[in-house]
Symmetry: C2
Subunit: 210 residues, 2 copies
DNA sequence: TATTAAATCAAACGAATGTATGAATTACTC
DNA sequence: GAGTAATTCATACATTCGTTTGATTTAATA
């Protein structure tokens, strides 16, 4: 028996490579080489490359989305009339996603990068995979958002939700560029600082006068 | 001589396929089949697949970025003290990019989609290619933005610029999802409406109190 | 310890990839 | 219209891809 489970080794290696070179840019052989397992191990344990991606995602995404819902429910419990302030809602949505980078056991930045990039992946299977995972979260957050943003017309609501996802995904996917562009002024490793800035940007955008 | 230049046919086909399936998801053979040219034509006219992408980008990006600068300069000429209002600056930055989708001669939405997706492409060569194209634009827009946002500390400035790019890229790349998510309420084909909403979201985000 | 199930292994499969070649064809120039 | 350059063509090359096989080894069970 290896020190670490073969399945886990494959998932870890896949996560790193997918995040760094993209899904279609990563070969089965690259994964098995990095994981130091036999080439056939992927087929034996997962069945296909696509199934590996599915496992890579659900391993992190299920607890991540659960945390989002837990946070929102906690805020709702503490609130009056179940109306949570907008910054809290946004924080519950983007906070857990950005915070995974702090915990090496949760992929330490790599999974975040991967997730941010997959949002714009052309592949339809990947898209439906992500959409399904995100649906329950969205269904739960939408009513809360609508309560926090009364008077906002539906079209504006959905458009701004769209912009929100874009800002969040880009922040998750590309934590290195901002360091270069800003000449070192911005430090994406300070997760809580990043969350604070992202939340305030989004909140202002969501509350903009139309 | 064919009705349309072979080079152009290759560029058109590449643009469509790159936008739809991603760069690494598109094969040379798929391009030549769609363009109805010989397989070797790509090697003859461009030399390599990467060189094709480079041409696809520069064909649209050079006039696009020129238009951004022209707009900004026009706004500056009309302004007092060279201080342009923030909404105008943002409009000059995101407007031309989103407007290419209205003109079928400029790629009609496909190039926009491609560009939005390439922003998060892992491949380093693609990144440096995009960065180089965007650098002159950024160098020109940054002073204008700083003038329009006095008092904003540098870290906030760069972070919000980062969020801006995210919201813009996501809007460019994914014009179909919002239609689905919103149940048809949002119409991404109405370019000017999209620009208006995106600009107001970004402006509010940029001006947020920190 | 004998038997069975689970896991790993080296090796190979056919298909698809980007690239390259040299002949055949077309377009242009004098 | 002959000669030259530019282009297009069918075809092949060497890799790499995801997947599969069947034997071998390891672990669990009895």
């Amino acid at each position: 028996m290896p020190r670490i489970d073969t399945k886990t080794r494959i998932l870890d290696a896949s996560e790193q490579l997918f995040a760094g070179r993209g899904v279609s840019g990563t070969s089965i052989r690259a994964i098995t080489a990095k994981a130091k397992v036999n080439l056939a191990a992927i087929h034996y344990h997962f069945g296909s490359k696509e199934s590996v991606l599915e496992s890579v995602l659900s391993r992190r995404l299920i607890p991540l989305n659960a945390e989002r819902l837990t946070l929102l429910e906690e805020y709702e419990r503490r609130s009056k009339n179940n109306v949570v302030a907008l910054p809290k809602i946004i924080e519950a949505l983007v906070g857990p996603a950005l915070r995974v980078s702090r915990d090496p056991k949760k992929g330490g930045g790599l999974f975040m990068k991967l997730l941010g990039r997959l949002v714009l992946e052309p592949d339809e299977k990947i898209q439906s995979l992500l959409t399904n995972q995100f649906r329950t979260v969205l269904e739960r957050f939408m009513p809360a958002l609508k309560k926090a943003l009364p008077g906002l017309e539906p079209a504006d609501f959905y458009w701004r939700l769209h912009f929100l996802v874009g800002a969040m995904a880009h922040t998750m996917a590309d934590s290195e560029r901002i360091q270069t562009v800003s000449g070192g002024i911005c430090n994406p490793d300070d997760t809580e600082d990043t969350i604070k800035r992202l939340v305030s940007f989004i909140v202002a955008g969501m509350e903009a006068e139309s």
